[in-house]
């Protein structure tokens, strides 16, 4: 029995099959050599929101919102008030009296919305008479208002006063919202994207639905802002659509199928019964030029400017990927398998090499008309500049699904998980240097030892 414990190489299934995924214990590029476990939650932790350079808030199914200091790992405040799980959380920075204030907005299944002051830990405002629970929040900084989306779309000002409300006819509420130029909002409602317009006439705000974009064939799982001109949406069956922010036309349409090579299909099927989920675009993130989409347990990197796939990996994790982050040439993903993996985009030595390892259907369409046409191509065209996604490190610590992570750049990376823990991962070398600095500072203060 001990054999498999000790022999890392003979670990199971997927790892064994795709040997490249097993990075082992030697990870020279992984700088996270220090961790700090933060305990405080009693249930799944789902949300992390950065408050400023030092602080962040965590929230989850226990209805508790905790504010932490990322450097020391101290829990600064426990914000209590919600009786049920938190469904959405965002921070809201505004200028009052010449100084910037940051407030924290939380929404819960108990149909309340709360506004918190993270400096004092006080609940500033609370709205409890909502008709439905809020699923998403969007701050419009330039209008100094924020929106809550659920079965109804509400517009609030900074003092949590309702400015405008719009009830939908649809059963499925708004699951995600992005801001578009000229006071337009795109909201994902089941299979549709609805474009709303905020009309500002004096102090009054009115919301008006402008258009319904019904190009997805299944529920939209993610909706993100790419840059000023583009936004993207991903659906449950692997459809990725890049939209123009101004005229709401389709700029690109990708249907990611993750087709199996014939030989492997049997075993692959055994491991992953639910093929549909496998293709669901759970999360997307973008740096303005590239999009990374978490498709099932795979990763898909797309260049929106070139409208071409940059890199992909069908099984990047052992289980569904829940959150991704893109930073220059490296990206990070966390998954239900409990790990966070760090990837690097590397140029391929042989251009066509990765094509054989996996297939994906792809054809670009420009405009609505052509979207239903034709079966997906069986082979990838020789895409120039196709790169590979190389695993450079993984962070193992959580014993449950890693729900989300939040990067504080040099100060570290915070992960939250189903196992009720938060972990701050830090650069050990940097921390050591910081401690040395602190030591020498104290030496100076004490005038010697």
């Amino acid at each position: 029995m001990l054999r498999w414990i000790l022999g890392g190489r003979e670990a199971q299934g997927t790892v064994e099959k795709s040997a490249a995924l097993f990075i082992g214990e030697e990870q020279p590029k992984n700088c996270f050599t220090e961790m700090q476990v933060l305990k405080g939650h009693f249930d799944i932790v789902r949300f992390l929101v950065q408050i400023d350079d030092l602080r962040f808030a965590s929230a989850g199914d226990d209805g508790l919102v905790l504010i932490w200091n990322v450097e020391t790992g101290d829990c600064l405040f426990a914000l209590r008030g919600h009786t049920q799980q938190i469904t959405a959380m965002t921070s809201y920075t505004f200028i009052r009296g010449g100084t910037a204030h940051t407030a924290l907005i939380t929404a819960s299944s108990d149909r309340t919305l709360s506004l918190w002051d993270p400096d004092s830990g006080n609940r500033v405002q609370n709205i409890s008479d909502l008709q439905s629970s809020v699923k998403c929040l969007l701050v419009l900084a330039h209008l100094d208002v924020w929106l809550s989306g659920g079965n109804e779309l509400c517009v609030w000002n900074r003092d949590l006063e309702l400015r405008c409300k719009m009830v939908h006819h649809s059963d499925a509420g708004i699951s995600a919202m992005v801001e578009l130029p000229k006071n337009f909002i795109a909201a994902a409602m089941d299979k549709e994207i609805v474009i709303f317009k905020l009309n500002l006439s004096g102090s009054d705000i009115a919301v008006m639905a402008m258009r319904h974009l019904a190009d997805h064939h299944d529920t939209i799982r993610s909706l993100i802002h790419i840059n000023d001109g583009l936004f993207a949406s991903g659906s449950h069956i692997g459809e990725l659509i890049i939209w123009d922010s101004v005229d709401w036309t389709i700029q690109a349409y990708e249907h990611i199928l993750w087709e199996e090579p014939a030989r492997d299909s049997q075993s692959e099927f055994k491991l992953n019964h639910q093929k549909q989920i496998e293709r669901s675009i759970q999360h997307m993130s973008s740096d303005g030029e590239y999009i990374v989409a978490a498709v099932g347990s795979g990763l898909y990197v797309y260049n929106v400017l070139m409208k071409s796939v940059v890199a992909y990996r069908r099984t990047a994790h052992d289980s569904n990927i829940l959150h991704t982050m893109l930073q220059q040439d490296s990206l990070m993903s966390c998954s239900e398998d409990g790990s966070v993996r760090m990837w690097e985009l590397q140029d391929l030595p042989l251009p066509a090499e990765p094509a054989s390892s996996g297939f994906f259907g792809m054809f670009g369409t420009f405009g609505r008309s052509s979207k239903q046409t034709g079966p997906p191509a069986k082979k990838i065209p020789e895409v120039p500049g196709l790169r590979s996604l190389e695993l450079i490190g993984d962070l193992i610590g959580h014993s449950g699904a890693v729900q989300m992570f939040l990067s504080f750049k040099d100060k570290g990376l915070v992960t939250c998980s189903t196992d009720q823990l938060l972990i701050v991962w830090k650069d050990g070398e940097l921390q050591s240097q910081l401690r040395s600095l602190a030591v020498f500072q104290k030496l100076e203060e004490n005038q010697g030892l």
Binding site: I5, Q27, S436
Partner: protein, 858 residues
């Protein structure tokens, strides 16, 4: 009257030799008394002809009824003193008492005056008996005693004169504490007694007054009875006045002492009943004293019914004198006994051992920054002495071995020397030479004379070495502090041939008080002092009959010895004694050879060396336990070829999981390895010796050594799952299949630390070896931590230069990349400890590396 007491003055060190400082020599604090290489090889042979087998403390009283008499000994075991004549020795020690206390009617005063005298501290030797004693005289107040005082003395009696001489100040300060307990208890008891007496007197006066009135009425004012009654009444008035005055005096005892932290602590410890008196004592010392006493009396009236006092008190020989316990408050008396027991425990060992532990403590106290890493909690080591050590750390009293070499401040000394120094004391000090005029001392000397005249006149062997009066202490000690007090004798002795004293030349050219012969038997040690002085005198002329062992020269032979003994050990383990062992167990073994006292710390550690009692989580990890663990560690090293890897894991902070089916085996391994864990914690918090549930990530943060149960149950499989999941953070030692999975280690440090071919046979020896190596490692880690240039880039852009400087630095320390992980880990611990202090409450982060592990098999 008793021979001629030779007063040994603590003279000031001569200034010669100060100019030359050998730059290469070791700092003085590392001075370990070397064994003088005399022809007779075994330094441990017991040559003492003392009639007692080990040191003890004797409390005696100079009773006004029967003269000097022993009261009790500590330890309270007749075997300790053997055939030693306690009565005789009590006589000796009481006879040197000067007792400058003048109690009674001083000239110009009509009523008795209490003197708060200082205790006197003398060293007394009786070469015939082979006994040497530190004698601490004190007086307690007793209303029924002559002059209201009862002279007592406490004596620390040892066969080793050097111990008494060299530990004089330590003994003095420790005994002063004991004396202080006694006296403060006594003051309260005395005040109590006075109050009762006053009430009696007042009651008697009122009765007398009534009687006198009656007499006047019946017989007229001038009848004899009436006059008698009037006289009686007047006497009573006077008596009341005197007693009131006494009460005022005793209650106005300055509250100065209260400031003493130690004292306050003990004050607060005593029961509430006494603290009531305490309050009254405190408040009384103003002008309103009488008033408060009065109210106090009223308050107490309910509990005490005054008695009529007869005009004539009983003859002094008829009455029963109060016992010591009665004289003091019971709780204070027990505190005193506790303190004396502590003294006995901490000084019972060989002088050499005391020195080493003193050096050890003094050095450790300087290492506050790193001592948390590998040093055991010292407080628990000596049990009861912890209190006493913590106190002495407040006022540094390591005077004989003044390591820093810098003179201690005057203030710190007054705390340990003067005891009862208050205003009346000054006059008593000045009047000390005339103390023979005081009736009490006259009495005692007379009594002594008459009782034991014959033996006295014939006996010339009694010398009072260093009759250190408080006043001479004050002056001489301060002078002598820079000095390393040199003991010289006033009258040169005629026999100086057998001296073994070896003045050691140290870096600053001073003679060190630690003389090399401290471990030798007692031949001729009486004559050591004169020779020492002689040696000093002809220092420039290079006298022949001393071995000029400087520390530098002294080191190689020591080393050689060590090797020699090591090799001898291989052939005959019973005979060979390794150096480190000599220091601990064997010494103890020899010095207390005949003593059946198995409670002795050292002897137990010897006997239980093989019976390994496993380290238990939650209890304080003592040095004793660690020594025992040395044996298991030694066995582990011999048994497992991958011991190096396992130890390097522990040293570099990688959690080691010991996996096994059998709890005993796992616990044994845990017990063998816990001595290598840095920052073990006072209670071994970083060790989990037996765990039967899956561990969590947070556990890895907490525990650095985990004993884990391997079970076939579902729980077992989840344990294995957690092992697999966190495999990158842990090393796994499987004691069933005898495998170790951990990162490789090829360095030399651990191979020195844990050489499986080591000649060391004993667990405690091995532990000391480990301790030595780890101390060295700690020192280097300390250097590494506090060197600025290897941590911070001089230029932000040159990050690489820091790395190379770091590598070079480690190379200079003799460490390769293999060791760098260990040093780095220790360094991080030191940094954290330094920044946060010892507070462990903070949520610590946990460091690790991404390195490949290998599987090692046996």
């Amino acid at each position: 009257m008793i021979g001629s007491p030779d007063v040994v003055a603590f003279t000031k060190e001569d200034d010669f030799g100060d100019s030359f400082i050998d730059p290469c020599s070791l700092p003085e604090e590392f001075t370990v008394p070397l064994f003088a290489h005399a022809a007779s090889a075994n330094p441990w042979t017991k040559t003492s002809y003392a009639k007692f087998s080990k040191d003890f403390i004797l409390i005696s009283e100079f009773s006004e009824q029967v003269g000097p008499q022993p009261l009790l000994t500590i330890p309270n075991d007749p075997k300790v003193c053997g055939t030693f004549d306690l009565n005789y020795f009590s006589l000796r020690i009481m006879s040197v008492d000067y007792q400058a206390s003048f109690v009674g009617h001083p000239p110009g005063s009509n009523y008795p005056k209490l003197n708060f005298v200082e205790d006197s501290k003398v060293v007394l030797g009786d070469s015939k008996e082979g006994a040497f004693a530190y004698v601490h005289h004190l007086t307690l107040y007793d209303l029924e005693a002559r002059g209201f005082v009862r002279p007592f003395c406490m004596a620390y009696i040892s066969a080793d004169e050097r111990k008494i001489m060299h530990q004089f100040q330590e003994l003095s300060s420790e005994f002063s504490k004991a004396s202080e307990f006694l006296k403060s208890g006594n003051r309260k008891a005395f005040a109590n007694e006075l109050e009762k007496k006053l009430r009696d007197l007042e009651y008697t006066r009122s009765v007398l007054y009534k009687e006198a009135e009656l007499q006047k009425k019946n017989n007229g004012c001038y009848s004899t009875q009436a006059i008698d009654k009037a006289n009686e009444l007047a006497n009573m008035e006077k008596s009341i006045y005197e007693h009131r005055d006494l009460l005022k005096q005793i209650t106005s005892y300055p509250s100065r002492k209260k400031k003493d932290g130690d004292f306050v602590q003990h004050e607060t410890e005593k029961p509430a009943e006494t603290s009531v008196i305490d309050d009254s004592l405190n408040s009384n010392h103003s002008d309103v004293a009488d008033k408060t006493v009065e109210t106090e009396c009223e308050r107490r009236k309910s509990s005490y019914t005054p008695q009529l006092i007869k005009a004539k008190s009983a003859k002094c020989f008829d009455k029963r004198l109060k016992t010591m316990e009665e004289l003091c408050n019971a709780s204070f008396f027990h505190q005193t006994l506790e303190q004396l027991n502590t003294i006995e425990k901490s000084y019972r060992d060989d002088l050499c051992l005391i020195y080493i532990s003193q050096i050890d403590r003094a050095l450790l106290s300087k290492q506050k920054i790193t001592s948390f890493l590998f040093e055991a909690e010292r407080n628990s080591e000596f049990g009861g002495t912890s209190k006493n050590f913590s106190v002495s750390s407040n006022n540094p009293t390591v005077p004989i071995l003044n390591f820093s070499g810098e003179p201690l401040s005057l203030d710190s000394y007054t705390t340990c020397i003067d005891v009862d120094h208050i205003k009346p004391g000054v006059e008593s000090m000045e009047g000390r030479p005339d103390s023979s005029t005081s009736d009490i001392t006259q009495e005692t000397s007379e009594a002594a004379d008459t009782e034991t005249k014959g033996s006295f006149s014939s006996d010339k062997s009694i010398e009072a070495f260093g009759g250190v009066s408080p006043s001479s202490l004050q002056t001489n000690y301060f002078d002598g502090l820079e000095r390393k007090s040199k003991v010289s004798i006033a009258s040169p002795s005629e026999n100086a041939s057998s001296s073994l004293a070896v003045p050691q030349r140290t870096s600053d050219g001073n003679l060190v008080p630690v003389d090399a012969g401290c471990c030798i038997g007692q031949d001729g040690f009486i004559f050591e002092e004169p020779l020492l002085e002689l040696a000093q005198e002809c220092y420039g002329d290079t006298v022949v009959n001393r071995e000029p062992l400087s520390l530098l020269q002294g080191d190689p032979p020591l080393q050689m010895d060590y090797i020699l003994e090591e090799s001898a050990l291989a052939e005959n383990p019973n005979m060979g004694l390794t150096f480190s062992e000599l220091n601990t167990e064997e010494v103890a073994k020899i010095t207390i050879e005949d003593v059946s006292d198995s409670t002795s710390f050292m002897s137990t550690s010897t006997s239980s060396d093989r019976a390994v009692s496993p380290f238990t989580y939650g209890s304080a990890a003592t040095l004793k336990q660690k020594k025992k663990a040395g044996h298991s560690a030694l066995r582990f090293i011999r048994q497992y070829p991958f011991a190096h890897q396992a130890i390097s894991c522990l040293l570099s902070g990688r959690t080691l999981v010991i996996l096994g089916v059998d709890e005993g085996t796992v616990r044994k391994l845990v017990n063998a390895l816990f001595i290598f864990i840095p920052n073990l914690g006072k209670y071994g918090e970083t060790v989990q010796p037996w765990l039967s549930s899956p561990f969590q990530l947070t556990d890895l943060q907490r525990w650095k050594l985990i004993g884990l149960q391997r079970a076939a149950s579902p729980a077992g499989s989840s344990i294995l799952h957690s092992l697999n999941r966190y495999s990158r953070y842990i090393s796994i030692l499987d004691c069933d299949s005898k495998t170790l999975r951990c990162p490789p280690y090829k360095g030399t440090l651990v191979s020195h630390l844990a050489d499986h071919r080591t000649q060391i046979k004993r667990g405690s020896t091995y532990f000391l070896h480990v301790q030595g190596m780890l101390t060295q490692l700690t020192a280097k880690a300390f250097l590494y931590t506090f060197c600025h240039h290897i941590h911070l880039p001089m230029d932000i852009n040159h990050q690489g230069s820091v790395t190379s400087r770091r590598t070079n630095f480690l190379l200079q320390l003799g460490y390769t990349v293999e060791e760098s992980k260990i040093v780095q880990y220790l360094s991080e611990l030191i940094k954290r400890h330094y920044i946060q202090g010892s507070s462990k409450g903070a949520n610590q982060s946990f460091c690790f590396n991404y390195t490949t592990s290998y599987l090692y098999k046996i």
